[in-house]
């Protein structure tokens, strides 16, 4: 009882006084690495855009495929993973009364492991010993050091996941019968997915390492691909769930409203956790060795993930309308004007949500078998994930940074930096519309992804793609300007902005809202259902791939 009182006093102190210096430095370190990755990854992206437009020939000592491997790794792995951990650890610290010392230690060990792993992975890429792209499909074989680096990164991520579980479990022990605060609930979902989703890729990498060293002669190519995508697709939804947490919890507070039904929010999180991992098969719709029946089952498993997103769309617009009408907004659409468009903390995630409408629709379209065949591995897909990840997720992360960084550094967002953020958001949006729009279009015409500039021996069809590809350079240049502004804003808010207190914005539920049923706290049950769904999705095809496996493939270095 005494500890319980002490605990709740701790929590109050934490909320009143702001984040403790030790917790702040942890999250700040994670965010600094994330935005450093954005800067380098952005430069590499620009190089690719210029090359694809036929404007820039990359030298033989730094090829297009080296650039692409590093761009992918930095942005889809480092930027997102480090941001997610930095953000959720700040949220855990804020909402659960400060991080426990052992949890903080785990997060630092995770930080160290990830940095070591990252150096291990990047050095072979720079030496052109690992130009295998971030999907590293066997039987292309990179230097074993590259894969060992990936293992360290996964171990680092697991440390952060365990830390989060310990923190949440400890809070629950001292707060029996209470609901875990909503952001900590989101964090639980994200780290459950990170942990379970990274198990398949860990198995894959552990089978690749002895093969890449030469201890084992051959590898099962299809099995490796399948294990990769069981992770790869989950990763996508981990970022997405992170962004969604800000949409449900932070954005309503920023606009001065209340958040949507607590129960529904928690149900959306549970659904996203349960249905996620088998979605990976939609990356293999035109692969051999998987039957049409299994592929059909996976169309369902992929499209089902769309349902919680459609629930989210309703929830968000309902919150916007309610808030705007409370402020005197009228009519069917004109209440939109009552929203704070000039506030970057709202504008950035709002555009992120709007972009998710075409992004999500494109995703639904390309998950269906026959339509996938039209666009599979074309530039369309690159356009798709630059809308979803590159805009919906990343722009939300940018929007978060304008309050999270000053909250951590005990500084304030000045009107000047806010204006910079608004400009940054608009540049990013226009750049992405040019780039992703052109990518979608030229992909429909057949231009392949992951291919350096080529006319295929002056083929007329390939030459007809060139005008569209020019927009990649235009969009890429705008995005580079956006990257520079964003990194400047983060550094400024972290080290130079005026001192002061910044709030961690968490919206309250509506007054008189219905009580959230306690079954939403039963994570054990959610995980069991998730494992059953994974089994439905994976047992049969994996059985087939292992049982009827062809003779394996030896390693190849084809670059």
């Amino acid at each position: 009882m005494e500890t319980a009182i002490k605990k709740s006093l701790n929590e109050k102190a934490n909320k009143m006084l702001g984040i403790s210096p030790q917790d702040a430095i942890l999250s700040k370190s994670y965010l600094l690495v994330a935005f450093a990755a954005l800067l380098i990854g952005g430069v590499l992206g620009l190089l690719q855009g210029l090359n694809r437009a036929g404007l820039l020939e990359l030298p033989s000592w730094f090829t297009y495929y080296q650039v692409l491997t590093a761009h992918g790794l930095l942005l889809v792995l480092v930027l997102t993973a480090f941001f997610t951990v930095g953000y959720f650890y700040a949220a855990l610290s804020h909402t659960l009364g400060g991080l426990l010392p052992k949890v903080r230690k785990l997060a630092w060990i995770g930080f160290g492991l990830k940095m070591i792993g990252f150096v291990f992975a990047v050095v072979p890429i720079l030496m052109n010993e690992a130009s295998v792209l971030y999907t590293f499909y066997p039987p292309m074989a990179a230097s074993p050091i590259f894969y060992i680096g990936l293992v360290f990164i996964v171990l680092g991520v697991w440390m952060c996941a365990f830390g989060a579980f310990i923190q949440v479990a400890n809070w629950r022990k001292h707060n029996k019968g209470k609901h875990v605060p909503i952001l900590a609930y989101f964090a639980t979902g994200v780290f459950v997915l990170l942990f379970f989703g990274s198990i398949p890729v860990t198995i894959e990498v552990l089978t690749i390492i002895p093969w890449a060293i030469g201890w084992v002669e051959t590898i099962n190519v299809m099995l490796a691909r399948t294990l990769f995508w069981a992770f790869g697709h989950t990763l996508v939804n981990i970022w997405y769930l992170t962004a969604v947490s800000a949409w449900y919890v932070v954005v309503p507070k920023v606009i001065g409203g209340r958040r949507f039904s607590d129960t529904l929010t928690r149900v959306v999180i549970m659904l996203l956790v349960i249905m996620n991992i088998p979605g990976g098969f939609h990356h293999q719709i035109i692969d051999p060795g998987i039957t049409e029946h299994v592929k059909f089952l996976h169309v369902f498993m992929s499209l089902a993930i769309g349902f919680p997103s459609l629930m989210t769309a309703y929830a968000m617009f309902s919150v916007f309308e309610k808030t705007a009408k409370k402020k005197g907004g009228k009519g069917v659409v004109s209440w939109f004007r009552k929203l704070p468009w000039g506030d970057v903390r709202f504008l950035a995630p709002m555009i992120a949500m709007i972009v998710f409408i075409p992004g999500g629709a494109g995703g639904i379209v390309q998950s269906t078998n026959q339509l996938n065949q039209v666009v599979h591995n074309t530039m369309w897909v690159v356009g798709h994930f630059h809308l979803t990840v590159g805009t919906s997720v990343v722009l939300t992360f940018f929007g978060i940074s304008y309050w999270l960084v000053p909250y951590l550094s005990k500084r304030v967002l000045t009107p000047r930096v806010n204006r910079l953020g608004v400009i940054q958001t608009l540049i990013w949006t226009v750049g992405m519309l040019f780039m992703a729009g052109a990518m979608h279009w030229v992909g429909l015409l057949g231009s392949p992804r992951r291919t350096s500039y080529t006319t295929y021996f002056d083929n007329a069809t390939a030459l007809s793609w060139d005008p569209y590809l020019m927009f990649l350079a235009v969009g890429g240049t705008l995005l580079m300007v956006g990257v520079i502004l964003q990194v400047y804003a983060v550094v400024h808010l972290m080290f130079f902005a005026p001192k002061g207190e910044t709030e961690f914005p968490i919206a309250e539920v509506e007054d008189h809202s219905a009580k959230t049923p306690y079954w939403t706290e039963r994570w054990g049950r959610v995980i069991v259902i998730m494992l059953v769904v994974i089994a439905i999705g994976y047992v049969l095809p994996l059985w087939e791939m292992i049982g009827n496996a062809p003779p394996g493939s030896p390693p190849f270095k084809t670059w």
Binding site: L133, Y137, P288, S318, L445, S452
Partner: protein, 155 residues
């Protein structure tokens, strides 16, 4: 949990849309036979040249207006290349890879398939429009990936 009427409608429409996509995908796959390329046969990827039919890649006429193309994919070429066929013919492609994962995509058609080592992949297409079709590898396969292309000429 209480739902408003408009939320109920929205969720029902959402659910219906997803089921609609499912229905059409299933109908196209299982009734119209338009399923994605999913051939299940396997092959020893290190013995492709000695295994029939890949010991003799090429274009073979197998019926009136019907052709079979037995094709191997390797860095960074398609074999056979520069295929010619008469307009109106249906072509059945039988493919495998001799090294890494490749893609087989013909711009302007729905021909698009992954070709992985150890597996035989099959896909068919009827070419009605005369012209030169560009064939590209759409899975990164190495430093010369951007040169892995050929053509199908329909006369």
């Amino acid at each position: 949990m209480k739902f408003h009427l408009d939320e109920k409608i929205w969720l029902i429409v959402s659910f219906g849309m997803i089921i609609g996509f499912m229905f059409f995908t299933g109908y196209q796959t299982f009734v119209l036979g338009m399923g994605p390329p999913s051939h299940m046969e396997t092959i020893d990827p290190q013995k492709v040249d000695e295994t029939a039919p890949f010991d003799n890649p090429g274009v073979k006429q197998i019926g009136e207006n019907e052709y079979e193309v037995v094709m191997t994919l390797e860095i960074f070429r398609f074999n056979p290349n520069n295929i010619e066929i008469p307009a109106g013919s249906t072509v059945h492609f039988t493919m495998t890879s001799k090294d890494v994962v490749h893609g087989f995509q013909v711009a302007g058609t729905n021909l698009n398939a992954m070709v992985t080592p150890g597996h035989i992949q099959k896909i068919s297409q009827t070419f009605n429009e005369p012209g030169e079709y560009l064939v590209v590898c759409n899975e990164y396969c190495g430093i010369g990936h951007q040169h892995m292309a050929t053509t199908i000429t329909v006369k």
